[in-house]
């Protein structure tokens, strides 16, 4: 039977007994619980209900963690429906935590692997409820059988990304949503109180899940891959000479860098196992093939258009996979599905640059410039950091410099142009990691709260 959590918003008081029960049952460090309480309207704005969601893994029927795990470490127990991580297969790449909108998989730094709610599968197998449900003092959290048409409407703060989470909500009763407060009746809130300056930020506003600081090795690897693929393309187009030793060393270094963030580095080979479903596996496979073909191309058959073409194709496939790895992450505020820092675009751009093919460089560059400008304008509107000085540098070095100087310049002047383009690309890629957002319940709570406040402000203005 596919089990499902059943959660009654009316009954939950946010007591956190479920969280402690989970820590005890699974012998976790209290600092890293698998289950957490997320509170809507923590600042208690008048007229808006305060309620809690107790969330762990929802053992989704279309679980993205399981689909995209490169190491095939995830499986589902057919008897209970529990989605389980095998800690002996996990490579600790944390990718599952990026694709999960419920923030369920957590990295255990001591063990070097991911872990998450197991639905207390050991208890389910013995006919017992999971510890969290068994020990909910108000009976708000229970389990039952999964039902396809579980949730009638959206629950504020609960990300709905169409992956069929095994949780069913009993929404707040009409009439007992939020109390009418004698000291601050709804609609009579002092003018200005809800204005921007008075918004307390959510005290739990946590750091972004993907951060440049922790993921710089991936930024570096993807850029190296784009540069190498671009050079291969350039050699194919115009026969520029490449130093095979430097080329291969850079490729190996890039790959080495990319394994640095793994919790289990010696299991890195497992990353190719899920080639059927995971773009992460495909990225590793294509990049390895690319490196192999490039080695043949540079060392054995430098003149072979066939080998060169195949190498370039494998490189492009690797870059496309890299882009895809990130594009399947559920985005809370998507700007466009293509990003100016796409490494595939970077690959084409650099192929044009190194081959002196102005048309190719120009086309890829213009697409990048357009996407870049569009994002900056969107950010400006959304109140997100647009970083004008950095943007100016990126556009100046990456687009304006080669545009003005051209690609035909010889000798040292060309290396300045190339360096400018590379710096521009590095800035763009770093910004990408800085801005990469992942849907989480906490983010969703914040976003839905802002929506409610916005609607309230509009109503007030209308009055």
């Amino acid at each position: 039977m596919q089990h499902s959590f059943i959660f009654d918003l009316n009954k939950c008081t946010g007591c956190q007994a479920c969280q402690v029960a989970c820590v005890i049952e699974n012998e976790l460090a209290p600092q890293r619980p698998w289950r957490e309480i997320h509170t809507f309207n923590e600042a208690r704005y008048p007229g808006i209900p305060l309620f809690h969601l107790s969330l762990a893994c929802n053992h989704c029927l279309d679980a993205p963690c399981m689909k995209y795990c490169p190491a095939l470490a995830y499986s589902r127990d057919p008897a209970t429906g529990a989605v389980i991580i095998d800690r002996d297969s996990c490579i600790g790449c944390k990718y599952c935590s990026w694709v999960c909108p419920y923030d369920a998989p957590k990295f255990n730094p001591a063990a070097g692997v991911m872990e998450k709610c197991t639905f207390c599968n050991h208890r389910l197998q013995e006919g017992q409820e999971p510890a969290c449900a068994a020990l909910c003092p108000t009976g708000a959290l229970q389990i039952g059988e999964y039902a396809e048409s579980g949730n009638a409407g959206a629950i504020a703060g609960f990300p709905e990304t169409g992956i069929r989470p095994a949780i069913r909500f009993i929404p707040l009763r009409e009439g007992t949503q939020a109390p009418e407060c004698s000291a601050a009746p709804a609609g009579e809130v002092a003018a200005g109180m809800l204005d921007a300056g008075n918004f307390p930020p959510s005290p739990k506003a946590s750091a972004a899940k993907i951060r440049l600081k922790s993921e710089w090795t991936l930024a570096a690897f993807t850029l190296v891959a784009a540069a190498l693929a671009g050079m291969t393309g350039a050699k194919l187009l115009s026969g520029v000479s490449l130093n095979p030793i430097a080329f291969l060393a850079a490729g190996m270094a890039g790959m080495g860098l990319s394994t640095l963030h793994l919790g289990k580095k010696f299991r890195a080979w497992r990353a190719i196992l899920n080639w059927r479903n995971s773009w992460l596996s495909r990225e590793v496979i294509f990049f390895s093939v690319f490196m192999g073909l490039a080695a043949l191309y540079l060392l054995a058959w430098p003149g072979s258009k066939l080998i060169g073409g195949l190498a370039a194709l494998a490189g492009a496939a690797a870059l496309f996979s890299m882009d895809k790895v990130y594009r399947v992450i559920p985005q809370p505020r998507p700007v466009s599905s293509w990003h100016s820092a796409s490494v595939l675009l970077t690959g084409f751009c650099l192929a044009g640059l190194f081959s002196g093919n102005a048309l190719l460089f120009g086309l890829a560059g213009l697409v990048k410039l357009g996407l870049y400008a569009r994002r900056k304008i969107r950010f400006q509107k959304q109140g997100r950091p647009a970083r004008p000085m950095l943007s100016l540098l990126r556009v100046g070095l990456g687009f304006a410099l080669p545009g003005l100087a051209g690609l035909e310049t010889a000798g040292s002047a060309f290396s300045y142009v190339a360096a400018g383009v590379m710096i521009g690309e590095i800035i763009d890629r770093c910004e990408y990691y800085l801005e990469l957002e992942v849907v989480t319940p906490r983010r969703q709570m914040g976003a839905d709260m802002e929506k409610r406040l916005g609607a309230m402000a509009q109503e007030r203005e209308a009055v």
């Binding site: 009316n10 009954k11 008081t13 946010g14 007591c15 956190q16 007994a17 969280q19 402690v20 029960a21 820590v23 005890i24 049952e25 460090a29 209290p30 600092q31 619980p33 600042a43 208690r44 704005y45 008048p46 209900p49 305060l50 309620f51 510890a131 068994a134 020990l135 909910c136 003092p137 108000t138 009976g139 707040l172 009763r173 009439g175 007992t176 939020a178 109390p179 009418e180 407060c181 004698s182 000291a183 601050a184 809130v189 002092a190 109180m193 008075n198 307390p200 930020p201 005290p203």
Partner: protein, 686 residues
């Protein structure tokens, strides 16, 4: 894995039954015990965290002696610890008399074995004791004076109520298991009203949150009574038969028009009218008052007025109706029931000198004379941060010559000790406990051997009595059980003997309803007051406490409506409510609790914060003439403007001990602690 049925003995409404599994000498997990109808789904997060608490690396496992001249402690043997104490006791007894020793015990753990402490001190020859109680006296006394007895309907009966008023009570955090029954009542179409200056978790599913100025509840109650009488929404037949002093009460209520009450309470008149309409029209109605709202200098009289609302509407003695404050139906072992049990005896017996008001612990300890206090023995308590006026309490403890503290952890009080004796936890000795919300008698069953060199208090007293030269016969006669489980069980069996329905064997299986339990309290309409009626007019109140014989409203000592230099300088009401994360000062030292409750903060209304130029998260100083706290501010739109709130129970070492700011004074009734009479100012630091 062996499983034991046991019960949580904390000073808490819920007193949960639970099953504990022990694996190889370690507490592995705790499960719910559905045999307790009041707590069928299992304990709260604190109850679960025992799994950590019992085996915490921070537990005190050996006797410790202060290293003179430093703040540190050194491990010593029991031999040395007992000999040191015995020597001091002999010396103080001969030099100053036995009453120079203060025996201070608080509510840290409930149980019948707690009585062994006083047995020892009587055997010793005498001691000084406290009177009154920090927690609930004003309400207990108001209830006793009005209804004759402290009892209420069984917890699950609340599901039958059509109107529930939670008056100054935040069940979601202090009695979470009641929320189960409140939710059932709401599902049955009942209405929930909360009266509280804070928008608490309990208020979230309420229809209405009435936010009176702290300490003004009495005026609100009298105005409601006046409206009910004016609108003739009262139960004449019930009043006729069962209420004493209705005409006088009517006259008193007439003094409080809705308009006047609105001025006093800061609650707009329309809400007072609405509440009165509900009370008049919706039956059955239950009013459930909390303990925090009766810790003001005027709250005994306020609670008498609140109980009167139920009396005049006939909401007593019926399912779904009534007054919920404390249910002492399981207190069958007490010779005298609370609150009388903690009043000073009218004729002192010459052995126990009951002269220290627990509300004024510091002042009274310093003032004790003939003999002055030389030594204190503290158990089951952490009085330094938890009693009013922490700075004075600290001074009084430091003025003593010798201090013994029996503790599990290095609390603020333990840090002040000369000798710390390791205390058992609830899992290391069996005991029998009652409750004050549900009607069960329970066995708090032993599940583990005490770790390290921990000895249960009863054993410490036994060994100390031996060392003081008392014979086995004398110790046995004093009813101090010998070491070992057998003597403890014999002690408990003796206590259970008058109740044939209660045996240790039965209690081992699960909770047992107390003999004589009334599921619907006062359903027999027998009120053990002097008149046999519900006394709105109480001569005893006037005689014993010097208050008006009728319920009354007057401003608390610390009130912005009193013209005083205090109210000029300190314009905020300081609220120190309880949180779900602690029972008083217990639990917050555990990692499991710290994860959900990392550090203290002060809640402020954004408008009060804006006036003081304080932004979310900024460090502020909360202060008055008595002391100060420095904490980050958290803006709370649900808090009544003019209030500042810090949850109580943080230790001094954690920077949040709220009693650094409170004043030691008593409530109008019952010798309670009026530490919620507390005005402060808040300002930004730096």
């Amino acid at each position: 894995m062996p499983t034991y049925v046991t019960a949580c003995p904390r000073n808490c409404y819920s007193t949960c039954t639970m099953k504990v599994q022990v694996d190889n000498g370690r507490l592995r997990r705790i499960e719910a015990h559905p045999g307790n109808r009041a707590t069928p789904e299992g304990p709260c997060l604190k109850g679960l965290s025992y799994v950590e608490r019992v085996h915490s690396p921070e537990r005190i496992l050996h006797p410790l002696k202060r290293i003179s001249g430093s703040g540190g402690f050194a491990q010593i043997s029991w031999e040395e610890a007992l000999e040191t104490i015995a020597e001091k006791l002999r010396y103080f007894k001969s030099a100053c008399g036995p009453q120079s020793v203060l025996y201070y015990s608080a509510s840290g753990t409930k149980g019948l074995l707690n009585g062994v402490g006083a047995n020892f001190w009587r055997l010793f020859g005498g001691y000084t004791a406290t009177y009154g109680d920090l927690c609930w006296p004003a309400g207990l006394e108001a209830t006793r004076l009005t209804l004759g007895e402290n009892k209420h309907n069984a917890p699950w009966d609340l599901a039958n109520a059509k109107l529930i008023i939670q008056w100054g009570r935040n069940a979601a955090e202090t009695n979470i298991h009641q929320m189960l029954f409140i939710n059932q009542a709401l599902e049955n179409g009942g209405k929930l009203i909360v009266i509280d200056p804070r928008r608490t978790q309990t208020a979230e599913r309420a229809e209405l949150l009435i936010q009176p100025r702290p300490g003004s509840d009495g005026a609100l109650a009298l105005a409601l009574a006046n409206l009910l009488i004016e609108n003739d929404a009262i139960d004449h037949a019930f009043i006729e038969r069962h209420v004493l002093g209705f005409p006088e009460f009517t006259a008193r209520a007439r003094e409080f028009s809705a308009e006047k009450a609105a001025q006093i309470t800061d609650v707009p008149e329309k809400y007072i009218h609405r509440l009165a309409e509900y009370l008049g029209a919706i039956k059955p109605a239950t009013i459930n008052a909390g303990f925090g709202m009766q810790r003001y200098t005027n709250s005994g009289q306020a609670l008498r007025a609140i109980i009167a609302l139920l009396a005049i509407t006939g909401n007593i003695g019926k399912p779904g109706a009534g007054w919920i404050f404390a249910n002492l139906q399981s207190h069958i072992f007490d010779a005298v029931q609370d609150p009388i049990a903690f009043y000073p005896p009218e004729t002192p017996d010459g052995v126990a000198r009951v002269c220290i008001s627990i509300s004024k612990l510091g002042q009274d300890m310093l003032a004790a004379a003939d003999p002055p206090l030389k030594m204190a023995w503290v158990e089951r308590g952490n009085p330094i941060p938890q009693n009013p006026e922490t700075p004075t309490v600290l001074r009084a403890f430091r003025a003593l010559e010798f201090r013994v503290v029996v503790e599990q952890f290095m609390t603020d009080t333990a840090r002040e000790a000369d000798l710390i004796l390791p205390a058992k936890t609830m899992f290391e000795q069996s005991d029998v406990i009652g409750a004050y919300w549900h009607p069960y008698i329970q066995l708090k069953q032993k599940a583990l051997e005490p770790p390290g060199e921990v000895k249960p208090e009863s054993e410490i007293y036994y060994l100390l009595a031996q060392r003081l030269g008392f014979s086995e016969a004398e110790i046995a006669a004093a009813n101090i059980p010998a070491p070992g489980d057998e003597a403890v069980e014999a002690y408990l069996r003796k206590k259970l003997a008058p109740f044939p329905e209660l045996t240790l064997e039965k209690l081992r299986q699960g909770p047992q309803i107390a003999p004589g339990h009334q599921e619907v309290a006062f359903s027999d309409l027998a009120f053990p007051t002097p008149s046999g009626k519900i006394e709105l007019y109480s001569q005893e109140a006037a005689r014993r406490w010097g208050v008006d014989a009728l319920p009354d409203y007057f401003e608390p000592q610390e009130s912005l409506r009193r013209e005083s230099p205090q109210s000029q300088k300190y314009p905020l009401y300081f609220m120190t409510p309880n949180t779900k994360n602690r029972i008083h000062s217990q639990f917050n030292n555990l990692q499991m609790i710290r994860q959900v409750s990392p550090a203290p903060f002060v809640a402020l209304h954004p408008e009060d914060a804006r006036r003081r130029n304080i932004a979310e998260g900024e460090k502020v100083r909360i202060f008055n003439d008595r002391g100060e706290l420095r904490l980050p501010a958290r803006l709370d739109f649900g808090l009544k403007p003019g209030c500042a709130a810090v949850t109580n129970g943080w230790w001094i070492s954690e920077g949040g001990a709220v009693n650094l700011l409170s004043h030691g004074r008593e409530t109008d009734l019952g010798y309670g602690a009026a530490f919620h009479d507390n005005l402060v100012e808040v300002e930004r630091v730096g």
